[in-house]
Subunit: 116 residues, 2 copies
DNA sequence: CCGTATCCCTCCGGATACTG
DNA sequence: CAGTATCCGGAGGGATACGG
């Protein structure tokens, strides 16, 4: 089925980008505001966090709620679609954790062979 | 757990790149040679297919078997690790197929709002 | 048939500085 | 606090040509 390859690829592209999965996972524990996410993630730039959240919002995975106080407050929360997505994403994450050493060993062997 | 974030990210990066998942899925139906993969995928350049296969081989997901005939013949096959990976990857693929329309609708709505 | 090398271009993502 | 604008380096990935 080449027809739905594109749509599958689009989802995988989201999943594969540098921050989306991490953000979705964190929001899986409940709604959070921008600065909380930024602090918890640690190594992300302001720009990329904004970009990532916009993408997730666009695809319907998170909602964005602005409270126009001073200073402003913005909360992000998973939609039901986002919580749905969390299921297969977590499965993949668990797989990665369980098999990390196998992959690392394979890499070490491969790189060893290549050094000749 | 920030410790295993890196390893998880590495797997997700593989999954998220443009061709790896497609190649692994195709090899899920059995061993194939280079030109078969190339023909079935359709839109991939020779360079990227080689690169993708090398990466998958390095991580221990596929084996590469050269038959030094003339012309040469090279077969690729999933390892047990590769077949393992197929399970969560297929789950994610199924999810993408089932929810494609929800995502598309969310995008259409978002883009509509943004046009104002 | 299979792989490498080269060129080139796009886009991701970080750093920084500035608005409301 | 949250977001935008700008600049910039580098990786990803396509086209082409060549080698074994």
């Amino acid at each position: 089925m080449p027809s739905d390859c594109r749509s599958v690829n689009e989802i995988l592209a989201r999943v594969g980008d540098k921050w989306s999965v991490l953000v979705v996972s964190l929001l899986g524990d409940g709604a959070m505001r921008f600065s909380e996410l930024r602090r918890l993630i640690g190594g992300i730039s302001q720009k990329m966090l904004t970009t990532t959240l916009r993408g997730l919002e666009r695809d319907g995975f998170v909602t964005r709620t602005v409270t126009p106080t001073i200073p402003p407050r913005v909360d992000y929360e998973l939609t039901s679609l986002g919580r749905d997505l969390l299921v297969p994403v977590r499965a993949l994450g668990d797989w990665a954790r369980h098999n990390r050493s196998r992959v690392e060993k394979a890499r070490a062997r491969f790189d060893q062979m290549a050094k000749s």
